[in-house]
């Protein structure tokens, strides 16, 4: 079966029971994506499929044949980090780092959703086609990624700096931190 993983064509044979997460980690040696709960409840396994974030632990790999998958290994390299990775470093967006690959992929997928105008449950006006990534919007949109170390404030600051281009939001996030 064929996939494109981190921009490279990949062929693999596996039992249909294999999850996309196990294919990546156990068959292809891409151990960046993490297994926290293996039941959709923590987000550590989040990867991007054709740019959309999913939980790879609940995905059967066979169902994703032919698709373009991006894992944390595809985001940046040592010396040339993705801007979001750099922001995680600068804002202490992690402690143990176990949730980080999922947080990164999730945030990138989330930013794509916001750019396409996907609303969230805290969006006041559902008719509004442009999304403003306020602090509350980010907390809600990132709620599928748990962090046992509780690095949430740093995570939200890093995402705000990278994706919420609007300066007022940066100020807002900063103000909350200071408060």
């Amino acid at each position: 079966m064929r996939f494109t993983i981190n921009d490279k064509p990949v062929e693999a044979e596996f039992d249909p029971r294999t999850s996309l997460l196990d294919l990546l980690r156990d068959h292809l040696g891409l151990t960046g994506s993490k297994k926290g709960c293996n039941q959709g409840a923590c987000g550590a396994c989040t990867v991007l499929v054709d740019g959309e974030r999913i939980n790879s632990c609940l995905a059967l790999a066979v169902q994703y044949q032919g698709r373009a998958i991006t894992t944390v290994e595809g985001l940046g390299q040592t010396g040339s980090l993705h801007p979001l990775q750099q922001a995680f470093v600068e804002h202490d967006g992690f402690q143990c780092g176990y949730c980080t690959p999922g947080q990164l992929c999730s945030a990138i997928g989330m930013a794509g959703e916001a750019a396409r105008g996907v609303p969230s449950v805290v969006t006041a006006d559902l008719g509004d086609e442009t999304v403003t990534l306020s602090h509350d919007e980010l907390r809600e949109r990132m709620s599928g990624n748990l962090c046992r170390c509780g690095a949430y404030n740093g995570i939200i600051d890093a995402i705000t700096e990278t994706f919420a281009a609007d300066g007022s939001q940066k100020g807002d996030a900063g103000a909350r931190k200071a408060a």
């Binding site: 249909p16 029971r17 974030r53 939980n55 059967l60 169902q63 996907v118 449950v121």
Partner: protein
């Protein structure tokens, strides 16, 4: 997980044919519920027919009704501008469920047929009539805080966990089905069963009957509609109680028409017809909203740990209707 064959269907008739070859075959949508249940060996299909590639179009028809392909993702449906504008309770209900990642994977068909989150259903050391007919129910005198207060039976007190279905049942949605004997349509309200003596039989679907689409009839006043979900944490948790409602007010301030449904309280999405009847034609006052909630909940039969849900449902109904009327709540 027990071994299975995987096949991908290109059309609905294909899917039905592929599934009909194996008694235990299951359709695969996004897999967010089924894969988990297969891993727990609660579901053990020998064949999985992938229907995620079937129709996912969301069509607005000239009469204002919507036709939604069953493979549409939860994200796609909640993002659709017509849904957001004309049926906001549906968009809000979907967005109140699960997480961004899961909504990207989950399909409309799979969401409707997702199974209960009762912990005893998941725990193979516990007795569960839903998992093993006739075994007994450990939730009955167990930790039953999240369980049903309406329509339950001594055989089963589990709830249906879907948020989306609460909105759909309020909107009189109709489910389009395709099976070995052809196609048919049934109201979503009639799709899920109450548990009675057979909680393992959760719907009226025939074996291998496929959901192909969901139809939502036009409802002009659904623009004034919303969904409120009460849960243990602010996001990414199932409902303790949820309320979906649409309200149509006359010039004189009385209730011309109303749609009201509850989640988290029963084995199926619960259409609150008694409350609707109590309110139609009555002044839209908080006292009447509360009285209507009482009317719906007179039959509530709480268990050891979930009596709080009766009061929670009463207050949430009252608050949601007050909000729709325009009073802050």
């Amino acid at each position: 997980m027990t071994p299975f064959q995987y096949e991908r269907a290109a059309t609905a008739p294909d899917a039905v044919r592929m599934a009909s070859n194996s008694a235990s075959a299951k359709y695969l949508g996004g897999g967010t519920n089924l894969v988990d249940l297969m891993r727990e060996t609660i579901e053990t299909p020998e064949r999985l027919v992938d229907v995620s590639g079937l129709s996912r179009t969301i069509e607005t028809r000239p009469d204002g009704s919507l036709l939604i392909g069953a493979a549409a993702t939860n994200t796609a449906l909640a993002s659709d501008l017509t849904v957001r504008r004309d049926f906001p309770l549906l968009a809000r209900a979907i967005l109140a469920g699960a997480s961004g990642q899961i909504r990207n994977m989950a399909t409309v068909g799979g969401n409707i047929l997702q199974r209960t989150r009762c912990a005893y259903f998941y725990d193979d050391a516990a007795r569960c009539n839903k998992r093993e007919p006739g075994a007994g129910c450990d939730a009955l005198d167990g930790f039953n805080r999240i369980h049903a207060i309406l329509g339950a039976s001594p055989a089963c007190v589990a709830t249906h966990p879907s948020d989306m279905c609460v909105a759909l049942v309020a909107l009189d949605a109709v489910v389009h089905l395709e099976g070995a004997n052809g196609t048919r349509r049934i109201p979503l309200a009639d799709l899920h069963r109450l548990p009675e003596g057979r909680p393992d039989i959760e719907t009226v679907l025939q074996p291998h009957e496929l959901i192909t689409a969901v139809e939502i009839p036009a409802l002009s006043f659904a623009r004034r509609s919303t969904y409120r979900k009460v849960r243990d944490r602010a996001s990414y948790a199932f409902a303790l109680v949820s309320v979906g409602a649409a309200l149509d007010l006359s010039e004189d301030g009385s209730v011309r028409d109303i749609r009201l449904a509850l989640g988290g309280v029963a084995h199926k999405p619960w259409r609150a017809l008694k409350a609707e009847d109590a309110l139609r034609g009555q002044p839209a006052t908080e006292a009447n909203f509360r009285a209507a909630a009482e009317a719906e909940l007179t039959d509530a039969a709480p268990l050891r740990d979930n009596a709080f849900k009766v009061e929670l449902a009463r207050r949430t109904i009252t608050a949601v209707l007050s909000e729709l009327k325009g009073d802050a709540a």
